[in-house]
């Protein structure tokens, strides 16, 4: 059994170690680099979106066979990244995995920002984004209502729900910590700001009782939610009749890929941040090890998905499926398929077996970045399938333009900008839950993680 909190911590030292990061506001050079880089990239997003609104979607490389290019690639990629946060906070909560405590706050914030980045893409791809509210059923004299049998409408509801529920889950978890910050703060503006956000929380016994119940039930609701969201995203493809898209493997395959890339993003961010803020006591090497094992497992699920696609195309004796498979692997975009295999299967599945790699900051970071690139290529490969239709007259090529790349980089900027602001102004590890994990003699709850006794 590995300790989840290293060194001798007690209630006060846990509160200080986590809370002072926010309250003292002294930030290491790494924070400034990350924040300013994110801010600069955010300007790229602003410029590219402004130009897009002025000129229209023609500035992108999309064309008739490939009508959705980078927009859907990035949308699916970002939504997938968000999933690790909900997985850690909800599924691991239900499974009584106490190691989730160090990373759940952090990864839930990541979820929210990733879903925001994801939401940008369908919105700006619409061409007339100022009519985005037409996606929702609202009473209007034009008699225009969404088509509820379309997976794209399901997507609207799934992503909106996912964002709202993630926000509620995150904020409810934050309330006791905001109260701790309110009571710990010295500066007046901090007392006012955190006092307002803490909603007058005073740790009352009946409040805790209701709070624990709500938190547990939200975990129970988020678990099917997170699976349903990526399933619905996969329906965007699977409900079509495009060869290799119309596959029953898609929902589980997409969910596994989402967890794979989401965990990679959590670890990729956590490694530098724990270093900068000296939080190794809470986010230990053991945590990295466990996360890497989850990545290894989901990596195999994803690899099975790639195998299954090829196998079903061959075994199913469908000329079109097999033709598209050959096209995908050896066709003009074959390089992207091999990039996918190399980054998603080659690097992580060979390296993550080794305990040395799983506990080495450098090599784990390499694996995580490789997974993030690989999962991006997975969506690229799926989308690029459209460039070879069944009739040669409708064949086409897809080449992203500079504005496609600018929007993608810009969305990364939005993510980093928000994430570094979060680290600056909110506790990135749950103070309450870490205190509960402390041994009784150090003032904690005796190691039972939060929500285990919600009646």
């Amino acid at each position: 059994m590995h300790p989840l909190v290293l060194n001798k911590h007690d209630l006060v030292s846990v509160g200080d170690a986590i809370g002072n990061v926010v309250l003292e506001g002294k930030h290491p050079r790494g924070w400034w680099i990350g924040f300013l880089a994110g801010f600069a990239m955010l300007q790229v997003l602003a410029i590219s979106v402004a130009w897009l609104f002025y000129m229209g979607v023609g500035i992108w490389g999309i064309n008739v066979p490939v009508a959705w290019g980078f927009a859907i690639i990035n949308f699916v990629w970002w939504i997938g990244i968000g999933h690790a946060g909900t997985l850690i906070s909800a599924i691991l909560l239900l499974l009584h995995q106490k190691w989730r405590t160090s990373i759940n706050r952090f990864s839930e914030a990541m979820t929210i920002f990733a879903v925001m980045c994801a939401g940008v893409f369908p919105l700006i791809h619409m061409g007339r984004p100022w009519f985005f509210y037409w996606l929702y059923p609202f009473p209007n004299i034009a008699g225009v209502y969404p088509q509820f049998r379309s997976p794209l409408t399901w997507d609207v509801f799934a992503v909106t729900t996912y964002f709202t529920v993630s926000l509620v889950f995150w904020y409810i978890g934050l309330v006791p910590d905001l109260a701790a910050l309110r009571d710990q703060a010295q500066k007046k503006w901090q007392r006012i700001l955190y006092g307002l956000l803490a909603l007058g929380w005073r740790g009352s016994a009946i409040h805790w009782r209701r709070y624990e119940k709500v938190y547990l039930l939200l975990g129970g609701l988020s678990t099917p939610l997170v699976l349903s969201v990526h399933t619905v995203v996969s329906f965007d493809f699977a409900v079509s009749i495009v060869p290799l898209w119309h596959a029953t493997i898609f929902p589980p395959f997409f969910v596994a890929g989402a967890i794979f890339s989401g965990f990679a993003m959590v670890v990729a961010l956590a490694i530098p941040i724990r270093h900068w803020y000296k939080l190794e006591d809470f986010f230990t090497d053991h945590h990295m090890d466990v996360m890497a094992k989850v990545m290894l497992a989901t990596g195999f699920l994803v690899t099975y998905g790639y195998f299954s696609e090829v196998w079903m195309a061959w075994y199913g004796h469908s000329l079109y499926e097999w033709g598209t498979t050959i096209e995908r692997i050896f066709g003009p975009y074959g390089w992207s398929y091999w990039c996918l295999i190399f980054f998603n299967c080659g690097i992580p599945l060979t390296l993550l077996w080794s305990k040395k790699v799983r506990r080495s900051e450098f090599w784990l970071e390499v694996c995580c970045i490789s997974i993030l690139i690989g999962m991006w290529f997975e969506r690229y490969v799926i989308v690029i399938t459209l460039s070879r239709d069944q009739v040669p007259s409708s064949w086409g090529r897809y080449n992203p333009t500079i504005w496609d790349y600018a929007t993608m980089v810009g969305s990364l900027g939005l993510f980093f900008f928000l994430f570094f602001l979060f680290i600056r102004y909110l506790p990135m590890i749950s103070i309450t839950e870490m205190r509960e994990l402390l041994p009784k003699k150090q003032g904690g709850g005796g190691g039972h993680s939060i929500m285990e006794n919600a009646p």
Binding site: D10, L11, V12, G15, P137, G143, V144, Y145, P146, Q147, F148, R149, T153, W154, F157, T160, T161, T164, V165, V168, I172, P176, A180, R182, D183, Q184, L196, L199, G200, W201, R202, G203, S204, A205, I206, H207, W208, R209, R210, Y211, E212, K213, V214, L217, L218, L221, S222, P224, L225, S228, T432, E433, R435, E436, K440, G443, G445, I450, A454, P455
Partner: protein, 200 residues
């Protein structure tokens, strides 16, 4: 000459004598006792309940379920709130799609039936999760009386430590057994690290 000057005794006493309690004087809200560990608090809560106090509360940095049990708080009603909220959302979401696609704005897509219920399941499910989560959040706030930006307990400077390193028991003045001096004395017997009477 000695002239006796009689002292004039006014007919009416003009010095202010309070009649009954001063309405502006602070009223006691609770006796607040702080404890160093959760175990001390649990023991103290059980003793206070045994002594006949009924209007108790504890304030802890993390949930200590034993105190809620000792005070006799029932099972949380949040499960029922979220269940009702979620079912309402699921039915409303399903009905919205059914009505829109079958009557309000019916679209014939490939000759499929207007009431094609399997394709309404994803949105009905999402609506269920959404309304259950929102009713959980707003139900929690409503039942707990939050957000409340001021509370008499915040008048105590020691109370700030509930979120830091102390565990508090408050015996509220609305308790029928409450008596400032007696309750303070009782609280002092519970082995606390601090005792005070908090005013409203």
């Amino acid at each position: 000459m000695n002239v006796d000057i009689p002292t004039i005794v006014p007919m009416v006493d003009t010095t202010v004598v309070p009649h009954g309690p001063d309405p502006d004087a602070p009223k006691p809200f609770a006796v607040l006792a702080g404890f160093a560990t959760a175990d001390d608090l649990v023991v103290a809560t059980r003793k206070a309940v045994a002594a006949g106090y009924t209007r108790l509360d504890t304030h802890t940095p993390y949930p200590v379920a034993e105190t809620a049990d000792a005070i006799g708080y029932p099972k949380s009603e949040m499960g029922a709130v979220m269940l009702i909220g979620g079912l309402t959302g699921a039915f409303a979401g399903f009905f919205m799609q059914y009505w829109n696609n079958a009557y309000g704005y019916s679209l014939n897509i490939g000759g499929r039936p207007y009431m094609s219920w399997p394709s309404f399941v994803p949105i009905a499910f999402e609506m269920m999760v959404l309304t259950a989560a929102l009713s959980g959040f707003f139900g929690l706030m409503a039942l707990c009386g939050l957000p409340r930006l001021n509370h008499p307990l915040f008048n105590s400077t020691a109370f700030d430590r509930f979120s830091r390193d102390q565990f508090f028991l408050s015996i509220e003045a609305v308790d029928p057994k409450y008596d400032s001096a007696a309750t303070l004395a009782f609280a002092a017997t519970l082995n606390p690290v601090s005792v005070e009477e908090v005013m409203e």
